[in-house]
């Protein structure tokens, strides 16, 4: 019976054998001028090392649910900076709580997201793994959803010297993306206090990132605000515990 496969296989075998011979001839590791066995028994390359981290986030506010927490690994860079304009990806996260652009932006080498809204007093744990040695800096971001464009998080934290099983905690303050005026007006806040519009590509604020001054609220004299005293917050707004697990 005609077996086309066996022909193919033999051809492949022959090709494989010649490649091996070529490798032998030019192998840079064959430096003891011994023979073929050294090379034939040369170990397969080890699988790339895995770097895994667990990030526990606690919402420390009284009345600010937080959008699904974005966790990304990348090289040595900042994904935002006080005094610099927000990226569109950050604007989309900070105005509407949608982290899909943030987690897929160009610099990102590995990404993970919390499953759901993180309510005040609650904690969530997010795992992230990479084999990319360059992915040794972390950024974390989440929107305070009862605001115009407030977010909490950190960016460009160097994890390269973290030992496996070590962990540390940080209290984190609140940024203003600077892309939407803090009107607190009806229709401008995506969280449950309003149910208004999240992201809009209009930039009607100072267009640089700064620390957030907090919300004013109607109870404190901003009569056009849909927010009340329960939505006020002070820093820190989240607590992070980062553990390297692998």
């Amino acid at each position: 019976m005609y077996k086309p496969n066996s022909l193919t296989n033999s051809a492949a075998k022959i090709t494989f054998a010649s490649i091996t011979m070529l490798l032998l001839a030019g192998c840079p590791f064959d430096d003891d001028d011994d023979n073929d066995t050294d090379v034939i028994e040369m170990p397969m390359p080890e699988p790339p090392a895995e770097y895994s981290y667990q990030i526990e986030v606690t919402n420390l506010t009284n009345g600010q649910p937080m959008s699904p927490v974005a966790v990304v690994l990348h090289g040595d860079e900042q994904l935002w900076q006080v005094g610099m304009s927000s990226t569109n990806a950050l604007e989309i996260l900070a105005e509407g709580g949608d982290n899909s652009s943030f987690t897929s932006q160009e610099q990102v080498l590995a990404a993970a997201s919390g499953d759901d809204i993180l309510m005040p007093g609650n904690s969530t744990t997010i795992s992230i793994t990479t084999t990319d040695e360059m992915a040794n800096h972390i950024s974390i971001a989440t929107m305070l959803v009862n605001t115009n464009d407030a977010f909490s998080g950190l960016t460009g934290l160097d994890l390269s010297s973290m030992a496996v099983d070590s962990s540390f905690s940080r209290n984190i303050g609140t940024y203003d993306a600077g892309t939407e005026a803090n009107t607190e007006a009806s229709g401008t806040i995506p969280g449950p206090a309003d149910g208004g519009t999240g992201y809009s590509d209009v930039r009607d604020d100072i267009d640089v990132v700064a620390m957030h001054a907090g919300v004013v609220t109607a109870d404190d004299g901003l009569s056009s605000s849909v927010l009340n005293q329960a939505h006020r917050f002070d820093n820190p707004t989240i607590r992070l515990t980062i553990t390297r697990t692998k």
Binding site: N62, G63, P120, G121, N171, A230, D234, P236
Partner: protein, 239 residues
């Protein structure tokens, strides 16, 4: 942990000596200074302790213990001090001998015995419903030197922040602010809220206050009884 140290029991009233009695080769002498950084908020008696990693005075995102609630709502630290002493912690009870006024400091000594490597502190903030200043399990360095930390204001999550000064409301579960030292508070407010949406220990959102001394929502004064974090500074000299 459950074993009551009888020596500690006997010396509860002079808590500073507990550390000395229970001390081992690894005991450290600490000189601690606490500064109230606020402009118009008073701290009730401080409860300061060095303890093991097994216990903590409070945990963010967790409900307050009844003992922490008694401290945060009424400034009563006796329950916390008992808990800590029963856990063989070294305790400095009320080192400022009463209220620590705005912009004032107190300095005291604490010797931590072997294994009590974590320092914590709580004190109620007045006038608030259940606000407190806290240091949570700060690891005491082995190396001699001077260390500082800045402390935040927490909300125990056990009482709605109605911001009404009401006599007798320091008892756990009685709504209101028990006192407003320093005067400057109003009367006759109708109440800021009857709800506490986050019933775990969290960062305090601050007093709302108002500018109406005989009415309005709040009895707190919005030009006096506000703050931003940090509300206290602690300096620890490890000798």
């Amino acid at each position: 942990m459950k074993k009551m140290n009888s020596i500690a029991k006997l010396t509860l009233l002079s808590t500073l000596s507990i550390g000395a009695l229970a001390s081992t080769a690894h005991a450290q002498d600490l000189e601690i200074t606490v500064t109230n950084l606020t402009q118009g908020i008073y701290f009730t008696p401080l409860a300061v302790s060095a303890h093991t990693s097994e216990i903590s005075m409070f945990t963010l995102g967790q409900a307050a213990s009844p003992e922490l609630q008694a401290m945060a709502e009424g400034g009563d630290i006796s329950g916390l001090v008992s808990l800590l002493s029963n856990a063989d912690a070294d305790v400095a009870e009320n080192p400022a001998a009463g209220l620590l006024a705005p912009a004032n400091s107190t300095t005291f000594e604490l010797t931590n015995s072997d294994g009590n490597d974590y320092l914590s502190l709580t004190a109620m903030m007045l006038p608030t419903n259940d606000g407190f200043v806290g240091l949570n399990s700060w690891m005491i360095p082995e190396e001699a030197g001077t260390y500082t930390a800045f402390l935040n204001a927490y909300d125990a999550g056990t009482e709605a922040n109605n911001e009404l000064v009401t006599e007798g409301s320091g008892a756990p579960g009685v709504l209101g602010i028990p006192a407003a030292p320093g005067g400057m508070a109003g009367t006759g407010g109708t109440g800021v809220t009857t709800e506490e949406s986050n019933q775990t220990i969290h960062i305090h959102r601050g007093n709302l206050g108002d500018d109406n001394a005989t009415g309005g929502l709040s009895d707190a004064n919005n030009t006096v009884h506000r703050w931003l974090n940090p509300v206290a500074k602690i300096t620890i000299v490890v000798k």
